[in-house]
């Protein structure tokens, strides 16, 4: 049987064959990329709970899953900032995979950008890692946190950051986000933890209650800022939620910025009331 050699094809047909082959190879490779991306999402499912999940008989899951809402007010998308943020959030992610929690992440790069969420952190399925034996469980829990850290780190560096911004947009949306998470939770949802990562050095405009540009760096002013946020209805309470404020004063270049950011964190905790903690950078 005579084999068909492309050299024997007409130039037009030869070109068409080459192009078709190139397209087929590209489609295959890009499908591989899509599978890799989907595998990235599928990797998250390894760390998520479903009714049919393998459980550890020594550590059965009962009760409700915590609702964790992480708000990232990104004043920088530099690798160093991404590393700092993921380090600060790591204990919360560890608790999520160890004990079970829905985790939603919203990130705000500032004015003119949109609030974005990374894959795996939509909060629609709870994280929980349990395995039939303790050794496998601990190993998988550790790799889960590593994987989730990596996703967050890459995501932070991909967020467009504007020269102007503040934490107010994220905090304004928080009550609604919490309600939506609870309403859409496929498994019973329990206590709420809100984590705000922000340097609290907003620099938007006068209408934004968390703009501190041009403000005096005094405790009294910080308290007035926080009071205004609530009296004007720009911020609303988070009833029943624990609030942690991390990264306060990150990037500050002088004392007055640091002091104001920390005093503002204190004042916001005072206004939010309940279980509120703030941690300086």
């Amino acid at each position: 049987m005579r084999s068909v050699k492309t050299g024997m094809l007409s130039p037009l047909l030869r070109s068409a064959v080459t192009t078709a082959a190139a397209a087929a190879i590209a489609a295959g490779a890009l499908a591989g990329c899509a599978r890799a991306s989907a595998a990235g999402a599928a990797d998250c499912s390894r760390y998520q709970y479903s009714a049919g999940s393998v459980t550890n008989p020594d550590q059965p899951h009962t009760g409700k899953f915590k609702l964790v809402l992480i708000l990232l007010d990104l004043s920088s998308n530099a690798p160093g900032t991404a590393a700092t943020i993921t380090q600060d959030l790591s204990p919360y992610l560890q608790a999520a995979v160890d004990d079970g929690a829905y985790v939603k992440v919203d990130a705000d790069g500032g004015s003119g950008t949109q609030v974005a969420s990374p894959g795996c952190f939509g909060g629609s399925q709870p994280f929980l890692v349990t395995r039939a034996n303790q050794v496998a469980q601990q190993k998988t829990q550790a790799s889960a946190v590593n994987a989730l850290d990596g996703i967050l780190k890459g995501f932070i560096q991909s967020v467009k950051v504007s020269p102007h911004g503040s934490a107010s947009r994220l905090l304004q949306g928080a009550p609604e986000q919490v309600s939506a998470l609870r309403a859409n939770a496929p498994y019973p949802a329990g206590p709420v933890q809100v984590i705000l990562w922000s340097n609290l050095l907003g620099n938007t405009g006068a209408s934004d209650c968390l703009n501190v540009n041009g403000m005096p760096g005094t405790q009294a002013y910080a308290q007035a800022i926080a009071r205004r946020c609530f009296s004007e209805g720009q911020l609303a309470p988070l009833p029943g939620a624990a609030l942690d404020i991390l990264g306060v004063g990150t990037g500050a270049v002088n004392d007055q910025q640091s002091l104001l950011a920390n005093d503002l964190a204190s004042a916001l905790c005072g206004e939010y009331g309940g279980d509120c903690r703030a941690f300086p950078a």
Binding site: L74, S75, G251, G270, P280
Partner: protein
């Protein structure tokens, strides 16, 4: 009208493969499903914050343990620091006459509020008390009289007014 010369077949095929390579590189970023295209490295501008007016240090007033003065931590130290600010020295000097004219122990208590961890605040309050003690000793107050102590969190609440150093003359 001049006609564009056709490229040799080999060159055309090379162009196809080159395009393929570019498409592969551009298409497979390995990012998550919700990620946006690469963003340029950027940081937010820092706001301009005016220095706050610091209240002057008051003198010693009578107290249950003896004359005492409470100095705001923000007057003496930068945030999270135990190094006395140069600007605070003027106010501290005003306390020296009363300390020198007394003969008993000089108790120095450092306090923080609930901002941060308990362990860190305990250490910071001790370091700050030590810093004031060292400053007094360097200004010829008998070291045997000086007793610094870190009290840690005066309250678990976040209340900047609690961040202070108290000096008590016993």
């Amino acid at each position: 009208m001049a006609r564009t010369a056709r490229r040799p077949a080999g060159t055309r095929h090379a162009a196809v493969w080159a395009s393929l390579a570019v498409a592969l590189c551009a298409g497979c970023t390995g990012r998550g499903a919700s990620a946006s295209p690469d963003a340029p490295a950027a940081s937010r501008q820092l706001p301009s914050v005016q220095p706050g007016q610091q209240a002057p240090i008051t003198g010693f007033i009578a107290g249950p343990e003896g004359p005492h003065v409470s100095v705001p931590a923000s007057y003496l130290f930068s945030l999270d620091s135990a190094v006395i600010r140069p600007a605070a020295v003027t106010g501290l000097r005003k306390l020296l006459p009363a300390i020198r004219s007394s003969s008993g122990a000089v108790m120095i208590y450092g306090y923080t509020d609930g901002l941060g961890t308990v362990a860190h605040n305990k250490l910071l309050s001790r370091e700050r008390a030590d810093a004031v003690a060292q400053w007094l000793i360097s200004n010829h107050i008998d070291p045997r009289r000086v007793h610094p102590e870190g009290k840690g969190e005066a309250t678990s609440a976040i209340d900047p007014a609690q961040r202070r150093v108290e000096i008590v003359l016993k």
